[in-house]
């Protein structure tokens, strides 16, 4: 999407921008401060956090910014998009812009940064609220020291959230040392086209990561409707007794979601893994069968097809039966990211779900 189209959709106005190729971090910082001086007169700013997105190319950078723009008034105060191309760029270097005039040997090793900074305002409740983004294309060995690139841009004393839209960090990634929270997407990683073995390593790797610092898995965030609807089905004097005797749990869906959801239910309800059945499907559904006073109850939360509707229902043998259909909200990526950014601290329930998912995988 073009910048203009993006802005029109989100009711955003850019009030200043700056670009520079092969510049130093301090030059970008200085330019940003200068832009902010204008901003301070133009709009309100109350800082909440710094968001750092790390992406492999311009297309992904643009996609990440789209998501941030979609947050509208719910945006973080400052977003830094780091475009870091993969390591094996051993062929021609024509796109880089570096080294053509210098001509020194080992140009590809030359660390350089191309930067574009902009300051925007978004209308919110009749007031202009300010946010800014910086896109930094990092070349050469600086790619291995991204912590030193983003430190100068982090807003003082506020959380720094690192968002990796489609990959997991390597254990030694220096970004982990400066991040207060890391946002990943287990489904995007598992579906990124790696070999099957890689897919199966996603959840253990996230578990290791979550032991180190708070993790938000957007795939887990997207499951929130299923989780809250299922929890709601067991509320009240008529339905809550069914929680005491769970017969069977069936979860269908993509790899990550079905394991996470199955793991969550089995852990929270202490259901033996042998009573949890998982199966692949395009959309997520969960069915819990339970018994109370010799009556069977089927509690189900399901998305049936491409239509963005979730059905939840309860069927009790010879007893009440209720159902509800809810439209899922649009703009999923922005919604999930926005939700992730409002949470601080370790998500214990997610960690339990991971634990359960890995136990399920062990018996699969």
């Amino acid at each position: 999407m073009s910048v203009a189209a993006r802005q029109a959709r989100a009711n955003v106005t850019t009030i200043g921008s700056w670009e520079g190729d092969d510049v130093s971090v301090s030059a970008v910082e200085a330019a940003l401060s200068e832009l902010r001086r204008h901003e301070q007169r133009a709009a309100v700013r109350t800082s909440v956090l710094t968001l750092v997105a790390v992406v492999p190319d311009d297309g992904a950078a643009s996609a990440a910014l789209d998501v941030v723009y979609d947050l509208g008034a719910r945006h973080p105060s400052r977003t830094i998009v780091l475009v870091v191309e993969a390591d094996d760029d051993s062929d021609d270097d024509s796109g880089g812009g570096a080294g053509e005039d210098g001509g020194e040997p080992g140009d590809r090793q030359h660390s350089g940064i191309d930067a574009a900074a902009s300051v925007h305002v978004v209308e919110h409740g009749g007031r202009a609220v300010c946010f800014e983004d910086v896109v930094l294309r990092v070349r050469g060995t600086a790619r291995h020291h991204l912590d030193s690139v983003i430190e100068p841009f982090a807003i003082p004393d506020l959380p720094l959230v690192v968002w990796l839209p489609a990959r997991l960090p390597a254990p030694g990634d220096p970004l982990l040392a400066v991040a207060d929270r890391i946002v990943v997407d287990s489904r995007a990683v598992a579906g990124a086209g790696g070999p099957g073995g890689e897919r199966s390593s996603v959840l253990p790797r996230i578990q290791a990561l979550a032991r180190r610092l708070p993790v938000t898995d957007l795939s887990w965030t997207r499951l929130a409707p299923w989780r809250s609807l299922l929890a709601g089905l067991f509320e009240g004097p008529v339905y809550s007794p069914f929680l005491r005797e769970i017969e069977e749990v069936e979860v269908v869906g993509n790899y990550g979601p079905r394991y996470l959801l199955g793991g969550w239910v089995s852990q929270r309800l202490r259901v033996p893994v042998t009573r949890v059945r998982l199966a692949p499907a395009d959309h997520v559904s969960i069915t819990v069968t339970a018994v109370h006073r010799h009556r069977t109850g089927v509690f189900k939360v399901a998305r049936h097809g491409a239509e963005r509707v979730i059905h939840s229902s309860i069927e009790i043998d010879g007893g009440p039966s209720v159902s509800q259909a809810l439209r899922m909200r649009h703009q999923w990526p922005a919604l999930a990211l926005g939700d992730a950014l409002t949470r601080m601290g370790r998500d214990e329930v997610y960690c339990e779900a991971l634990e359960g998912a890995l136990r399920l995988r062990a018996v699969a």
Binding site: A231, E235, V238, R268, L269, R343
Partner: protein, 511 residues
């Protein structure tokens, strides 16, 4: 409150338990303007369970489908939730979750019919005997409805694990005696713990934020007392006139309409001591204690410390407006107040000697609600007087609406060669700081009532304390002891109100 359902996540939003919401006054304005949009939003946000049902009760003849469709269209007209909401209403339509009982509130057969519908819903939808009665009806009907619910046995839960609650809208009486009478009638059918008195002001995020600001920070509370605070000003200003509510307003007036409830709630949160815990009664106990410490107005105080006013014609926000006495439904020689200003004294260790100035009115220059604390002067100013010409006392302002947030006013050096200090304001805007969207007040309060959290509802002793403060004014005005000061629309009230502060060497802030 909530069950021990292990699937409920502590950090997630609370979901209402299965229940039937019974709305009395289902064809009325409050139901269509506030309750139904709140229900729609709660459903869209997945905070209502599948086993949820609404029963409307009113005199108008309608069947279940008429009622539901009527509610659906009114919410839509008011800019409801669109595509997402469509599914909510379709689901209500398909499931029989929306029912309607037509009948007179004074007729026992209305309640028999209601009982039948409730039993059906319990059987078909598993609502488990949970009921929330919402009295969206004129106050005169409260005793009638409460009594009949009691007579039909609809006032108590049929099983230990179920709840029956009743939500009552203001006004809670028109003076202390009538409030006590109302309580007496309501308490004949319901325990106080079942009664949820709603003041939508308490559902506003920023009113609750007063508690967060005071009790989650270490830096404000130490100066929140008579040692540092010179005086406090509470302003609840409206730019609107009485509109079509003239005949209602003739009975109520600003004191009953705003001061007795909204102002007293804001005052109580500002004055109260820190509660030991955040549980509903701990907070409400402290609020009552604070209100109890307000010195009652003596006969002479009503004359010297209170100003009642009424708007004349004038200009507000660029438009010419009528005088109160020219408004529809208003007596041409009405003495009803549309403005009240008063000076309150609080007799406790924290506030002794700190006056609380309160003002509220209609047809003031703009709509604004705020609490402003003005701090004492520094003990000694080391600058020459001409160096500090622009320096005002420090102030901390809690802006409740419309620009929710906090303003801190303090002195700073004016840039330049000379050393001059001037007051500057540092603004914090609540809406600009957080990534979350706050829910509407009714949405929040309706969910609280369903979940069973009475913190933001008003307890009977709070109502009594608020009336205790207001009653002497009503009595004096009834006897016409106090002159009515008239003010031009679009001004900050009558000259007498300015006099009230000027006498103490102070002046009203411009909010």
């Amino acid at each position: 409150m909530t069950t021990d359902n292990p699937l409920v996540e502590p950090s997630a939003d609370r979901v209402a338990p299965p229940a039937v919401l019974v709305v009395f006054g289902a064809s009325g304005d409050l139901t269509s303007r506030k309750l139904m949009p709140a229900i729609e939003q709660l459903a869209v946000r997945r905070l209502l369970p599948a086993a949820f049902a609404v029963v409307g009760v009113a005199r108008t003849e309608m069947d279940d489908d008429d009622f539901r469709e009527r509610m659906r269209t009114t919410v839509e007209k008011m800019g409801g939730g669109g595509d997402e909401a469509k599914h909510v209403w379709d689901a209500f339509a398909g499931s029989g979750a929306f029912r309607y009982v037509a009948g007179d509130y004074a007729d026992p057969s209305t309640y028999e019919q209601l009982k039948g519908v409730l039993d059906e819903l319990d059987r078909d939808r598993g609502t488990g005997g949970n009921r929330l009665y919402y009295l969206a009806t004129p106050p005169a009907t409260f005793p009638v409805i409460a009594e009949h619910l009691g007579a039909e046995g609809l006032n108590t839960p049929r099983r230990d694990d179920a709840f029956v609650r009743v939500v009552i809208e203001k006004p809670f009486g028109h003076d202390q005696a009538s409030a006590a009478e109302l309580d007496e009638v309501v308490h004949r059918s319901f325990e106080e713990s079942q009664v949820y008195r709603i003041d939508h002001y308490l559902g506003k995020e920023t009113v609750q934020n007063v508690l967060a600001l005071r009790f989650a920070n270490a830096i404000f509370e130490p100066v929140w007392n008579r040692r540092y605070v010179d005086h406090v000003q509470v302003t609840v200003a409206e730019s609107l006139g009485v509109g079509h509510r003239g005949s209602f307003y003739e009975q109520a007036g600003a004191l009953r309409d705003i001061v007795q409830n909204h102002v007293m709630q804001v005052l109580a949160l500002t004055m109260m001591e820190p509660p030991a815990t955040f549980d509903p009664d701990a907070i409400r106990d402290e609020k009552v204690k604070a209100l109890r410490a307000v010195t009652p107005f003596g006969r002479q105080d009503v004359v010297t410390d209170v100003v009642r006013g009424q708007y004349r014609a004038g200009w507000v926000e660029g438009e010419e407006v009528l005088s109160y006495r020219q408004e529809e439904g208003v007596h041409p020689h009405s003495l009803r107040e549309t403005y009240v200003a008063m000076k309150l004294h609080v007799d406790n260790w924290r506030w002794a000697g700190v006056p609380f100035y309160v003002r509220t009115g209609k047809r003031l220059p703009k709509r604004v609600t705020e609490v402003a604390m003005t701090f004492k002067d520094v003990p000694h100013l080391p600058f020459a007087s001409e160096q500090a010409e622009g320096l005002e006392p420090d102030a901390l302002v809690l802006r409740i609406q419309p620009d929710e947030g906090i303003t801190l006013r303090f002195g700073a050096k004016v840039p330049g060669q000379a050393f001059r200090v001037r007051s500057v304001s540092m603004d914090f805007f609540y809406g600009a700081a957080f990534l979350e969207e706050p829910p509407e007040a009714y949405e929040r309060l309706l969910l609280d009532a369903l979940v069973g959290d009475p913190t933001l509802f008003i307890r009977s002793d709070e109502v009594a304390q608020a009336w205790r403060i207001c009653d002497p004014l009503l009595a004096a005005w009834e006897e016409d002891d106090v002159p009515l000061a008239r003010y031009e629309s679009g001004t900050w009230g009558p000259a007498e109100a300015h006099e009230l502060l000027a006498r103490d060497g102070r002046r009203w802030r411009r909010p």
